[in-house]
């Protein structure tokens, strides 16, 4: 058990920045540039780990604890999601609640750390983050309800593994709707482009990035690593929902899963290249749209009878 957990966490820690690298390469390729090397996110994080921290005198221990707590929370959340033939090492009844609220915990610490700096910009970012995640969480839980109804289970790994293949034949459209709304949540949770631009540092328009303006050195490295891991874990769940590969032999499962992850990273790059960031007041509209999609999916599942 201990070894399997360790293996799971090793996979996440080693491979998660690569996903960002692939996305970055795709974006560069689509605008006709060569772009940074695939391993650039590793270099960035490595560089930050070699630097020292600078703390403002107005901050307290909360500011220093937040990056560690949020990174730890997303790492723990990884052990509930199966990666191909690597099964989830620690499944238990109702772990979806823990999974969802580990992200809640990470976000809570980031928000209070942002407020701790006393900067008005960061307070603004914190308020936006809190408002958007309120909407995203509802959609996430609606999707979980759909999956739970289909699989008759409240264990995350069983929900995506169990009988999702037979569900696809009967409830294909409903799962597709859940997938679309989950993808919108994924974009919002990871602060990707239609919701937030991870590349800009223009304070007035930012949501997530503005909250980490005061972090430096090790702390910033934890935050960047944490967001890479978050993208990896939520992306892995997305691949698990949309690609029903669980009946295949283990080797094929591994191949299909990792191919799915690469397609997801490339897809993210394509979405980010062909869309502009939405105006701030349109983001709630996007998330409410995701909510309505998930709701239609749920209604379809209910009316079709499980």
């Amino acid at each position: 058990m201990g070894i399997r957990i360790l293996l799971h966490i090793m996979v996440v820690v080693i491979l998660s920045p690569l996903l960002l690298g692939i996305t970055g390469k795709t974006k560069a390729f689509l605008v006709g540039r060569w772009g940074p090397p695939l391993l650039q996110p590793y270099y960035d994080i490595g560089k930050l780990f070699r630097k020292g921290n600078v703390y403002s005198t107005t901050t307290t221990w909360i500011f220093q604890a937040a990056p560690v707590v949020s990174m730890a929370a997303v790492l723990v959340s990884a052990i509930f999601v199966p990666f191909g033939s690597l099964k989830a090492p620690l499944p238990f009844f109702g772990d979806i609640i823990l999974f969802a609220y580990l992200y809640g915990l990470a976000r809570f610490f980031m928000i209070i750390a942002a407020l701790d700096t006393g900067s008005s910009f960061e307070g603004m970012g914190a308020s936006r983050e809190a408002a958007f995640s309120c909407l995203a969480e509802v959609v996430l839980f609606l999707d979980f309800i759909i999956l739970a109804l289909l699989s008759k289970s409240l264990v995350l790994s069983e929900m995506v593994e169990g009988n999702i293949l037979s569900s696809w034949q009967l409830f294909g459209p409903a799962i597709l709707l859940a997938g679309v709304s989950y993808f919108l949540v994924l974009l919002a949770e990871n602060a990707r482009i239609p919701v937030d631009d991870p590349a800009t540092h223009l304070e007035l328009t930012m949501v997530h990035e503005v909250m980490v303006l005061d972090h430096s050195g090790w702390d910033l490295a934890y935050i960047l690593y944490g967001s890479a891991i978050k993208l990896f874990v939520l992306g892995a769940l997305f691949v698990n929902i949309l690609v029903p590969f669980h009946g295949l032999p283990p080797v094929m499962q591994t191949i299909v899963f990792w191919a799915g992850m690469i397609v997801l990273a490339v897809g993210l790059g394509i979405v980010e290249s062909c869309m502009a960031r939405l105006r701030l007041n349109q983001v709630p509209q996007l998330l409410i749209g995701a909510f309505v999609f998930a709701l239609v999916g749920l209604l379809v599942v209910l009316i079709k009878g499980v």
């Binding site: 709707l177 709630p284 509209q285 749209g289 309505v292 709701l295 239609v296 379809v300 209910l302 009316i303």
Partner: protein
């Protein structure tokens, strides 16, 4: 399976129409919705009757009406609904609520005919509700026309239940009526615009001598 997919696509396109603010996009989305709609008669009851229905819908709702509406917005040069009565986010949320109501109603409804898919009636109701919502929550005459057309798409879906029992002449008559209605609305929008300098229907509630 394909019918379910088409029905859900129609509902989702309705939701997207509800959330979009550009009139051009709304018209294109309506055309897309009608395109999916035109395939449904073939999926429900394949036959000569269905082919005629499909062709009629395709010609009128996918080509003629969207073109007519695009012509109208070009003519009065309005691009977007600037100030809806209810905000876009709230309209979407209301739309979700009304869809829940539609599904609940159709769950309780007992129909004399046997339905081909148990999603047909709920989806028809949902589209009607979305059309209604669009109709009451926007000011611009063009948006209201689109709302009316979306509502009619829902009624069309509902009528699929009785596809074999209704004579073709009635169906064609309905389609022709809608077309004439849209044609007249196009002209009316033009007149509203000439008279008041904007295409908002709010102006129509004022009394003047």
């Amino acid at each position: 399976m394909w019918l379910d997919l088409a029905l859900i696509l129609i509902v989702c396109l309705g939701v997207v129409i509800l959330g979009s603010s550009r009139l051009g996009t709304m018209i294109q989305l309506f055309a897309a919705q009608s395109l999916v709609l035109s395939a449904t008669p073939l999926l429900v009851h394949p036959g000569k009757h269905a082919v005629v229905m499909t062709m009629g819908t395709l010609i009128l709702k996918v080509f003629l009406m969207p073109n007519l509406l695009s012509w109208a917005i070009r003519h009065v040069s309005i691009r977007r609904e600037v100030q809806p009565l209810v905000g876009y986010g709230k309209t979407l949320m209301l739309g979700g609520f009304l869809m829940g109501v539609a599904f609940w109603i159709s769950f309780r409804l007992e129909l004399p005919v046997r339905e081909t898919s148990n999603l047909l009636v709920p989806c028809a109701f949902s589209v009607v509700m979305v059309g209604f919502l669009l109709l009451v929550s926007r000011f611009k005459a063009i948006t209201q026309v689109i709302g009316y057309l979306v509502m009619e798409n829902g009624i069309f879906l509902f009528a699929l239940l009785l596809l074999e029992k209704t004579p073709l002449l009635v169906e064609m008559g309905i389609l022709l009526d809608i077309f004439v209605g849209v044609l007249i609305m196009g002209i009316v929008v033009n007149h509203i615009n000439q008279e008041f300098g904007s295409a908002s229907t709010v102006n129509l509630t004022n009394l003047r001598d």
